[in-house]
C-alpha cells in the first residue's frame, strides 16, 4: 500500500499548493498528467477557475476562420489542408477575395476574423500588410486576428526583414493580436518528428515573445494526441508559462486533439485522442498555467458535448462560432454552430453565456 500512500500525499500536496496559490512544479505536473484521479483535478481546476473568475460566466466570440492560401512548402505530417506549389488543388486568394471573406463574416456579426494560411513563398510582405490595413479600414468592427507564428517567419524570409521588423510593420498596419496556432507541441523532439521544416520550439516562441514585447496579445495552442509523451507536454506548458512571466501577452490557452484523417501521421495514428484525455489536459492546463488568464473549451475539435463537460474541468471560454473553417474540414472533421446554439449549450451546462471580443472584453451578457 506504499504506492497508494505516496499518491495520496501527492494529491494532498498539489491541493495544498493550489489552495495557497503556489506554482506547481514539473513533478506535480507529471503526476497530474499521468496518474491523478480525473475528477479530483477537474474539481481543483474549477476551484482555480472560480478564484480567477468568480462569476459563472462562460464567454464566446463571434468569429470566422477563412484561409488565404493552401499552398505550403512545410510538409507537416499532421496536416491534411496544405497542397504543394503547383498542385491542381492549390489555391491562393487575391487581396480582394480575402476581403470578401472578411466582409461575409462581418455581415454575420463577426468581431474577429482568424485568418491563416499555408507558407507560400510567392506572396510578398505587402500582400499581408494590405490585408490588415484594408480590414481595419473597411471593417472597423472586425479585429484582424491574422497570421500564426510560422506565417510571420515566412514573411520575414520573403522580405529579408527580421521577425521583429515584420511585427512592427503589421502593428503599423493596424494589427494588435496574433492567433496561437502552429505551436503543436513545443518540444524539439516532437517537432523534428511531425513538422521538421517548421523549426524547433524557439521558432514559435520567438515570434510570440517579440510580439508580446511590442504589445501584441496572442493565444497559445497545443495540438496533442500524436507522438508526444507527458514530458513533451510538460515542456510545452513550461515554455508557455515562462514566456508569459515575461510580458503577460497570452490571453488564453487552447488545446485540441490531433485529427489523423488524410494526414501522413494517419499511418501510425488511426484514432483521435478521446474525451477523458482532453478533460485532463484542460484541467492540468488550468492548474499549471497559473499566469494565463483563460482556458478555452474547443467545441469545434472535441464536439459540443465534450465542450459542455469541459466547462466543469477548468475551461471558462467556449471559443468561437467559426463560421468558416477549412483545416479540420480537410481531415473530414466538420462541426457547425450558431450563436443561439452556443447560448443554449452554455446555459445547459450551468453557466451564463457572454459574447466577448478577441481580447476577452465582454460585449454582451445573455
Amino acid at each position: 500500500m506504499g504506492g497508494a500512500a505516496v499518491e495520496s500525499a501527492t494529491l494532498a500536496a498539489v491541493r495544498e499548493r493550489v489552495e495557497a496559490g503556489q506554482r506547481l512544479g514539473r513533478a506535480e505536473g507529471r503526476w497530474l498528467l499521468t496518474e491523478a484521479p480525473l475528477l479530483e483535478i477537474g474539481a481543483l481546476a474549477q476551484r482555480v477557475r472560480f478564484r480567477r473568475l468568480p462569476e459563472p460566466v462562460v464567454t464566446f466570440v463571434v468569429d470566422s476562420n477563412p484561409n488565404y492560401t493552401n499552398v505550403c512548402v512545410t510538409d507537416c505530417q499532421f496536416c491534411a489542408f496544405y497542397r504543394k506549389p503547383g498542385h491542381p488543388e492549390a489555391y491562393t486568394l487575391s487581396v480582394e477575395e480575402v476581403l470578401a471573406r472578411v466582409e461575409a463574416a462581418a455581415a454575420r456579426g463577426a468581431t474577429t476574423v482568424l485568418l491563416q494560411g499555408g507558407h507560400n513563398p510567392e506572396l510578398p510582405l505587402d500582400y499581408y500588410l494590405t490585408l490588415v490595413r484594408e480590414t481595419r479600414r473597411r471593417f472597423p468592427q472586425v479585429t484582424p486576428h491574422f497570421f500564426t507564428a510560422s506565417e510571420i517567419r515566412t514573411m520575414a524570409e520573403v522580405s529579408g526583414l527580421s521577425v521583429g521588423e515584420v511585427l512592427d510593420r503589421l502593428w503599423e498596419a493596424g494589427q494588435r493580436t496574433l492567433p496561437g496556432g502552429g505551436a503543436e507541441i513545443l518540444s524539439a523532439r516532437v517537432r523534428r518528428r511531425i513538422s521538421p521544416k517548421k523549426g524547433g520550439p524557439e521558432a514559435w516562441l520567438e515570434v510570440h515573445r517579440e510580439a508580446h514585447r511590442r504589445g501584441f496579445r496572442s493565444t497559445a495552442t497545443m495540438m496533442y494526441g500524436h507522438v508526444e509523451t507527458p514530458e513533451d507536454v510538460l515542456d510545452h506548458l513550461d515554455a508557455i508559462r515562462e514566456l508569459q512571466d515575461l510580458y503577460g501577452g497570452f490571453t488564453a490557452f487552447v488545446p485540441w486533439s490531433f485529427k489523423p484523417a488524410h494526414t501522413r501521421l494517419e499511418k501510425w495514428i488511426k484514432q483521435p485522442s478521446g474525451p477523458n484525455a482532453y478533460l485532463r489536459i484542460l484541467a492540468v492546463a488550468r492548474l499549471y498555467l497559473d499566469n494565463v488568464p483563460h482556458v478555452q473549451a474547443s467545441w469545434f475539435s472535441e464536439g459540443k458535448r465534450t465542450g459542455q463537460i469541459a466547462l466543469h474541468f477548468g475551461a471558462d471560454d467556449w471559443g468561437g462560432t467559426l463560421f468558416e473553417e477549412n483545416v479540420h474540414r480537410a481531415a473530414d472533421f466538420v462541426n457547425r454552430i450558431t450563436v443561439e446554439e452556443i447560448v443554449a449549450l452554455i446555459r445547459e451546462a450551468g453557466f451564463t453565456p457572454a459574447q466577448r471580443t478577441t481580447t476577452y472584453e465582454i460585449l454582451r451578457v445573455f
Binding site: M1, A5, E35, L38, A43, N276, L279, Q308
Partner: protein, 391 residues
C-alpha cells in the same frame, strides 16, 4: 428468491480489487474530498458511513451546481464496488415489430398496423439475426394488436433451440403486462412459460418515469404503472429471472419525479432483490419533440452519478452509449457507471427516435471507449459472469 446483490460478486468470484487510483481513493477517506458546495459534506459523510441517502439528499444531488462533487462521490462508490472494471457484452438487439397499440408521446418508434414503415418480423428472420459470437440477445418490441402470446413463446423457443449458447433477455414489464391486458395471461404464467422456453432475464424498459402526472401528460396510462411494473419485476425475481430497470429522463419530468422514481426502484430491490443493472435512458428528441433540446451531457453525467448514490442496492449502473454518445459514455465511467451495455448490432428504437450514434459499435470501439477513461474492459455475459478481462 433471487438476490443479485450477492450473486453478482459471488458468481464470478471476483475479489474487490483495489489498485491505483482506487487505493488512493480509499486513503483519501474522511475529510479529503472537498466540495465547492458545502451542503454536500453531510451527504459525503453518509456515503462513507454506508448510510442510505434520503429523498432530500437526492434532490440536493440533482440541484447542486457542484457537478464534480456529485461525480466524485459516485466514483468513490463505484470504485469501492468494482475497482477499475467496466463491463460490456457482445449483444444483439432484436425488435420483433414496431406495430404498437399505444401512442406514448415520447416514442418515435411505434407505428399502427398497416401504417407506412410498420414491420413485423417472422420467427425465422429473428433466428437468422443472431450471429456467431453474440452472447446476449435483447428482445423488445411494440405491443402488437394481434400476435398471440404463443408467438412470443415460440420466438423464444426457436431462438433458444437454434442458439442454445446465447442468453435471451426479453420483454419489458410493459409487454408482460400487455399479455395480460390483451390475452388475460397472468404475469406469473407468462414468465414461467417464457422461462421454460429459454428466457433468462428481462430488460428494464417500460418504466419511463413512475408518475401518474406524466403518464397522463405523455399518454402512457395504457401501460403498466409503477405498482404493476414493480409487481411484475418482483414476480420475475421470485421465479429466478434477473431483470434490469430504466428511467426515461430529459423530457418534461421534474427532478423530484426522478428522485421518487429512483427511490421506488430501490424499495423494490429491497423487496425482491433481482435487479442487476439500472440504466438511465436519455430522451431522444427526434420527431416527438417534447422538448426542444436533448438533456445536456452534464445532466446525463449527474443522473448517472445520483443513481449510483441513491441505488445503493443495485449491483450496476450503466452508461448506455447509444443515447449518451460515445464520448459522454466514456466520461460517465468516472461518474459512477460500471457498464456501457454492448456492441448492439441493431438498435432500431433509439435510431428511429433520432439518436445520432452509429449503430453496431464494434468491440474495438467499445474497448477504446473504456480504455480512454483509464478503465479495465471486462467482457461479460447477460448475467454479469466474466467472460474475459482485457488487462
Amino acid at each position: 428468491m433471487l438476490d443479485t446483490r450477492k450473486a453478482a460478486s459471488l458468481e464470478s468470484g471476483r475479489p474487490l480489487r483495489r489498485v491505483g487510483a482506487d487505493a488512493d481513493r480509499d486513503d483519501l477517506g474522511g475529510t479529503a474530498l472537498r466540495f465547492s458546495d458545502a451542503r454536500l459534506e453531510r451527504i459525503w459523510a453518509k456515503v462513507q458511513a454506508g448510510e442510505r441517502l434520503d429523498r432530500d439528499d437526492g434532490l440536493l444531488l440533482f440541484e447542486t451546481p457542484d457537478l464534480l462533487g456529485v461525480g466524485r462521490m459516485a466514483d468513490w462508490v463505484k470504485s469501492r464496488r468494482e475497482g477499475d472494471r467496466v463491463y460490456f457484452v457482445i449483444n444483439r438487439h432484436i425488435t420483433p415489430t414496431n406495430v404498437c397499440v399505444l401512442s406514448c408521446a415520447f416514442c418515435g418508434f411505434a407505428r399502427r398496423k398497416g401504417e407506412p414503415g410498420a414491420y413485423e418480423h417472422t420467427i425465422e428472420e429473428m433466428v437468422a439475426m443472431v450471429r456467431d459470437g453474440v452472447r446476449e440477445v435483447h428482445i423488445v418490441g411494440g405491443h402488437h394488436p394481434d400476435w398471440p402470446f404463443e408467438y412470443y413463446e415460440r420466438m423464444i423457443q426457436a431462438i433458444h433451440a437454434a442458439h442454445p449458447q446465447v442468453q435471451i433477455k426479453a420483454f419489458t414489464a410493459a409487454e408482460i403486462d400487455y399479455f395480460w391486458r390483451r390475452w388475460r395471461i397472468e404475469p406469473r404464467e407468462a414468465l414461467t412459460r417464457l422461462k421454460a422456453a429459454g428466457l433468462q432475464s428481462m430488460p428494464g424498459g417500460g418504466a419511463e418515469i413512475f408518475s401518474p402526472r406524466l403518464a397522463r401528460l405523455l399518454r402512457y396510462t395504457g401501460k403498466a404503472d409503477a405498482d404493476r411494473w414493480c409487481e411484475i419485476h418482483g414476480i420475475a425475481h421470485a421465479l429466478g429471472i434477473p431483470t434490469n430497470a430504466t428511467m426515461l429522463y430529459g423530457h418534461v419530468e421534474t427532478l423530484a419525479e426522478r428522485v421518487d422514481h429512483l427511490l421506488r426502484l430501490r424499495a423494490q430491490q429491497d423487496a425482491s432483490g433481482g435487479f442487476l443493472t439500472f440504466i438511465p435512458l436519455a430522451y431522444q428528441v427526434g420527431a416527438t419533440r417534447l422538448v426542444e433540446r436533448p438533456a445536456p451531457p452534464t445532466d446525463s453525467l449527474r443522473t448517472i452519478a445520483v443513481s449510483r448514490l441513491l441505488l445503493d442496492n443495485f449491483p450496476h449502473v450503466e452508461a448506455y452509449w447509444v443515447t449518451l454518445g460515445e464520448d459522454t459514455a466514456s466520461v460517465a465511467l468516472h461518474f459512477g457507471a460500471d457498464d456501457v451495455n454492448g456492441t448492439l448490432e441493431d438498435e432500431r428504437i433509439q435510431h428511429l427516435s433520432g439518436a445520432d450514434t452509429p449503430a453496431g459499435l464494434a468491440r474495438e470501439q467499445l474497448l477504446r471507449m473504456i480504455r480512454d477513461a483509464g478503465k479495465v474492459p471486462v467482457e461479460r455475459d447477460a448475467l454479469y459472469n466474466v467472460v474475459r478481462v482485457y488487462d
